[in-house]
Amino acid sequence: MDAEAPKPDFAQAPAPGGALFRAQGVGVRRGGDWLIRGIDLTIDPGEIVTLIGPNGSGKSTTAKVVLGLIRPDAGKIERAAKVRVGYVPQRLSIDETLPFSVKRLMTMTGPAPEADIRAALARVGIGHLADAAVQRLSGGEFQRALMARAILRKPDLLVLDEPVQGVDFAGEVALYELIRDIRNELGCAILLISHDLHFVMAETDRVLCLNQHVCCAGTPQSVAADPEYRRLFGPRAVEALAVYQHHHDHAHGPHGEVIPLRAGGDPDAHSHGDGAVCHAHHEHDHDHGPHHHDKDVPDDPAGATDGQ
């Protein structure tokens, strides 16, 4: 049976101050337990907001409140009128009995000109898969197809629920780069959900660290340094929190092919010209100096991912 999906309520009071979405003290209760409580969240046009937190911390629940799929049991929600939403869900399995091509997936919730479909697919690097059945795609290809479908709608707000799950390390890096580029091209706001504490995009304007409530919020750097964050994830996680920054001279497509990036990048690029993720140098580097080189090694897959 299909899921219960209450009507999204877009007709609410416009959010003041030009925000697309604003939640104040929002709580969702199921069976007497609060899944989330006291959540304050504002999404302004064009900004990237990242939700991180352990499993069961209420990240997806929060996203569903933003999307209007769940009506909160407490708190106040304001939504700007006529916000065009693009949603990439955490999990989507399309029944084997349904013949569904990638191209058909693109127009699932609205028609689009053929040229725009081609362009969106090419933009995410799967232009050659337009006529493939969605059930035949790999995890990474399917994520890209879902992303293409969402950006084809030219959304004001793009909600990405764990977009890099089931994608290998190199693919993960490439997907984060794609997300950043999409924001820059479309100018849309992005709500990004991740349980992956190892990477928070440097382009993220704000990180909300959830554990049923907002335990800390701010820039990626300030969250990493926050004692609440330390308490929730432990000192090892703080060490592991690497803020991904753009230090590459090329990226990898879904099939491992090299995609050159714009010229004039960071001069450091040459020392990392293998597509590996670099650790940003933050103040917290000094906190764990002795361990620094220990953790760099397993985090760097350069040799493994740059074979050809």
């Binding site: 299909d2 999906a5 999204p8 999307l67 939403v85 399309i94 091509s101 919730t109």
Partner: protein, 271 residues
């Protein structure tokens, strides 16, 4: 020479097959085969109610099917029992209650066999008008909600997040399904309606490359099964409704044969 009643029967059967096929595709895609069965089984109770209250049989069947579907949704929402348990409970209870009520009706000669397995050879002009008229309305409504219903089938959360209303689409779909059951009862009978819904859709799956194509191909396969089954029934003097279902089964099995090997040079792109 084709006799009048055989022509009527063929036209009625083809009409029902064409309407049932696209809805049957959704039944398959949404994994609602047993749900369709439950609604169909309640049709006998609908027919009995129609006689008892002296209303049109089609209207009675439609109404009871919708009520049973709504009862299922209410029980599902209440929780506690798995959906397949609820379906089994409702399906057989509805059938049993229908048989009991039928049995209690004295003084009326009832063709129970006709209700259970269809009476396609007794189709008259009024039935034909109902099938083609009602069928056109059902298909028109289905075409109207096609995109949102498909989106609600593939990804209800995405559809809802992007401004559609999957719950409403599901309700409309159930009403359309009840409509098909009401007009198909006379053709194949309540026990075999689900077969007419899902066998052509299943047979079309291997051939079709898109949802719309699958619906169209299923309609063709269904119509072919009606014509073939009807001809075989007349030849072999077998009950027409079940023979039509057997014909559909034969078409489905024929589709399983390795036809692709007969077309050299055509390779699958993304194996």
């Amino acid at each position: 020479m084709v006799s009048d009643f055989l022509l009527h029967a063929a036209l009625a059967g083809i009409g029902v097959a064409i309407v049932a096929a696209p809805l049957g595709c959704f039944v398959v895609w949404r994994r609602m085969a047993y749900f369709g069965d439950t609604m169909a089984h309640s049709a006998l109770l609908g027919a009995a109610a129609a006689i008892a209250f002296d209303i049109d049989a089609t209207l009675g069947v439609f109404t009871i099917s919708v009520l049973v579907a709504l009862a299922l949704l209410a029980l599902e929402r209440r929780g506690g029992l798995a959906t397949d348990t609820l379906l089994g409970l409702l399906s057989h209870s509805a059938l049993a209650v229908g048989l009991v009520v039928m049995g209690m009706m004295t003084g009326i000669r009832l063709d129970l066999f006709g209700y259970l397995f269809g009476d396609i050879l007794a189709v008259d002009g009024r039935d034909l008008a109902l099938i083609w008229g009602g069928g056109a309305v059902i298909l028109g409504l289905l075409a109207y909600i096609w995109r949102p219903l498909l989106a609600a089938t593939v990804a209800p959360d995405v559809a809802a997040a992007e401004g559609m209303n999957p719950a409403r689409q599901r309700l409309i779909f159930m009403l359309l399904l009840a409509g098909v059951i009401a007009i198909a009862m006379k053709i194949v009978g309540i026990l075999l309606i689900t077969a007419l819904l899902i066998i052509p859709a299943a047979a079309a799956r291997r051939i079709a490359h898109g949802p719309e194509a699958m619906a169209a191909i299923a309609a063709g396969i269904g119509a072919l099964a009606v014509v073939g089954g009807l001809a075989a029934a007349v030849q072999a003097d077998t009950p027409a409704g079940p023979t039509i279902v057997v014909a559909a089964l034969v078409l489905f099995l024929a589709g399983l044969l390795p036809w692709a090997r007969l077309r050299p040079g055509k390779e699958t792109e993304h194996g």
